[in-house]
């Protein structure tokens, strides 16, 4: 599966353009602030229909334009040569977004996400390691929403119940609060169980990916569901029981704080790497190199999950990923990608000399001031 054609209109600083992309991908070379990341942002928009940089749609429209539009044609989405057209447009007037799959507007936006099948690597991925649990929950939610049927629905219902229950905690009497417990338990247990199953399932893959990147260091992923330590179930089937009793025992604290204090909205997962002879939380104890290895391993894990789920190699969007890796790590990541990434790779780098992927066989494209050109720029 690969992105065969891309059409851009009014997107950030990028000139309006129609591109034909080769199945193996491209290496886009250009100095910083020319629009390399904007191109990856535009492509990735077709996966989630929002910016991976977390900005509002209004900020994606080029200055002075009324709208932006991104259209991509994915070839081989179902294994054969058939094509699928994904398009998204947003106009300033009325702040209207229109997303179409093969020209048809899906009933819900949730039905449109994930059809590109892309995984994005950026230097900002370091936030997965360095920032608070919110970033890691977001990572889990995106991976699971894209790969596990029913997860997104359960998560959305969970968030709704949580909002209602917290409002009841501020206003309501005991019975009016308790009414939300069972819906919260049902949706929450579902979210807990999916997260735990995924983390348990990819534990070995994470360790081996991390070992390859770091040159043999062990690592582990640990899921910490937001339940009292003694109430964390051994069995995914009993998450509902655990959550129910945790809710019961935190009633007083909840009334005082006027918010729900247990449940998947407060989940955390940790990545542990060697420090002083044992495995410790990388967020507190990791070196710069260890942090980068772990962030990369998480993205590669995301790619692997997508590949296993769909039976197709994902499109890898790599934004200047080697810039901050040391020589040895870059070398090993390149080797790993040469060996395992069989799909399309769209990568960016500030200098042509930074790109060694696929024995330099990736076609070199260049970008200056938002204008993309096949081949390198002349003198």
């Amino acid at each position: 599966m690969h992105l065969a054609r891309l059409r851009l209109q009014g997107f950030r600083n990028l000139a309006d353009v129609r591109l034909e992309l080769p199945p193996e991908g491209i290496a886009l070379v250009g100095p910083n602030a020319q629009g390399k990341t904007n191109l990856l942002e535009a492509i990735h928009y077709l996966e989630l229909f929002r910016s991976f940089r977390g900005v509002r749609d209004a900020e994606l429209v080029r200055f002075g334009e009324a709208f932006f539009r991104v259209e991509g044609v994915v070839r081989g989405a179902t294994g054969g040569g058939e094509e699928r057209t994904l398009a998204a447009a947003w106009q300033r007037e009325g702040a209207r977004k229109r997303v179409t799959l093969d020209g048809v507007e899906p009933e819900r936006l949730a039905d449109a996400v994930g059809h590109l099948g892309a995984v994005l690597f950026t230097p900002a991925d370091l936030a997965l390691v360095n920032d608070g649990p919110h970033e890691r929950r977001r990572f889990l939610d995106i991976v699971l929403s894209l790969n596990e049927p029913g997860y997104l629905g359960a998560l959305q219902r969970y968030r709704r119940v949580l909002g209602q229950r917290n409002a009841a905690l501020r206003e309501g009497g005991a019975a009016a609060i308790a009414a939300w417990d069972e819906p919260l338990v049902r949706e929450g247990a579902r979210v807990f169980a999916s997260r735990r199953a995924w983390i348990a399932g990819v534990g070995e893959a994470f360790a081996s990916l991390h070992a390859e990147i770091s040159g043999g260091e062990p690592a582990e992923l640990v899921y910490l569901p937001a339940l009292p330590t003694d109430a964390r179930p051994d069995d995914a089937e009993t998450f509902d029981e655990s959550l129910r009793s945790a809710l019961r025992s935190s009633v007083d604290q909840e009334r005082r704080m006027q918010t729900t204090v247990v449940g998947p909205h407060r989940d955390e997962f940790r990545m542990r790497v060697p420090n002083g002879g044992r495995l410790r939380d990388v967020r507190s104890y990791g070196s710069g190199g260890q942090r980068r290895s772990v962030a990369l391993a998480l993205r590669l894990l995301e790619a692997r999950t997508l590949e296993e789920q769909r039976g197709r190699a994902p499109i890898l969007l790599m934004d200047d990923v080697f810039a901050e890796l040391d020589e040895a790590r870059s070398e090993r990541v390149l080797e790993l990608l040469e060996r395992t990434a069989v799909g399309q790779v769209i990568l960016t780098a500030p200098r042509a000399s930074d790109i060694r992927l696929r024995g330099d066989r990736l076609p070199r494209w260049s970008i200056r001031d938002g204008v993309i050109q096949m081949g390198e720029w002349g003198p």
Binding site: V161, E171, G172
Partner: protein, 197 residues
């Protein structure tokens, strides 16, 4: 604002009618006979003049009590609790239910400032308590959304101590859907398969 714009705006506020459909309807009315348009306007006027909630159950009626509450053949030991008067119509459409109704007028939604006091729960409790033991079972047919479910949980906790049997529609109804979008046979099955809460 011109009359055309005004009617278009009013029609566009109706569910399932966007600005384009509203405009089409307005031009259709203007192209057709004046008598047709007048009849429609008069019918809408009569609708709002004559129809009001039933004094007992809250379903729509033109009398003081609705046809169901007036019907001596209905089983008075059975009350089916629904969110809206439209749900009464859906369940009546199945012809499977022979009891009475109670319309709550919505569901619990603290985010929108809707607590138990904002719903017709007090009158329901009065009907159950004041029925001199004649009400044997209350069927909670709130929507299968998270809000409908929480409303059912709340009602169950309030009704159970009164010694009445409390049941809930079977889960044939897809989660997150409104009763009004559920087809008649699914609804009939859900009614027949109701379970104690």
């Amino acid at each position: 604002m011109s009359a055309i714009d005004e009617v278009t705006r009013e029609l566009a506020r109706l569910p399932g009618v966007g600005p384009r459909t509203a405009t089409r309807l307005v031009y259709h009315l203007l192209r057709g006979s004046t008598a047709d348009a007048r009849r429609l306007a008069r019918a809408i006027e009569l609708l709002v003049e004559r129809v009001h909630p039933c004094a007992r159950c809250g379903a729509f009626t033109e009398e003081e009590l609705c046809a169901v509450c007036r019907d001596p053949e209905r089983d008075r030991s059975l009350i089916c609790v629904v969110e809206s008067a439209f749900d009464v119509r859906s369940i009546e459409g199945t012809r499977e239910f022979r009891g009475l109704y109670h319309v709550l007028g919505g569901h619990l939604s603290p985010l929108d400032g809707i607590g138990p006091e904002e719903l017709s729960i007090g009158p329901l409790l009065e009907r159950v308590q004041g029925g001199a033991g004649r009400v044997a079972e209350v069927i909670l047919a709130t929507n299968p959304s998270v809000e409908g479910e929480a409303t059912a949980v709340y009602l169950e906790g309030t009704l159970r101590p009164m010694g009445v049997r409390v049941t809930r529609l079977a889960r044939g109804v897809p989660v997150g859907s409104d009763l009004e979008y559920v087809d008649g046979s699914t609804l009939a099955e859900a009614l027949a398969g109701r379970r104690d809460m």
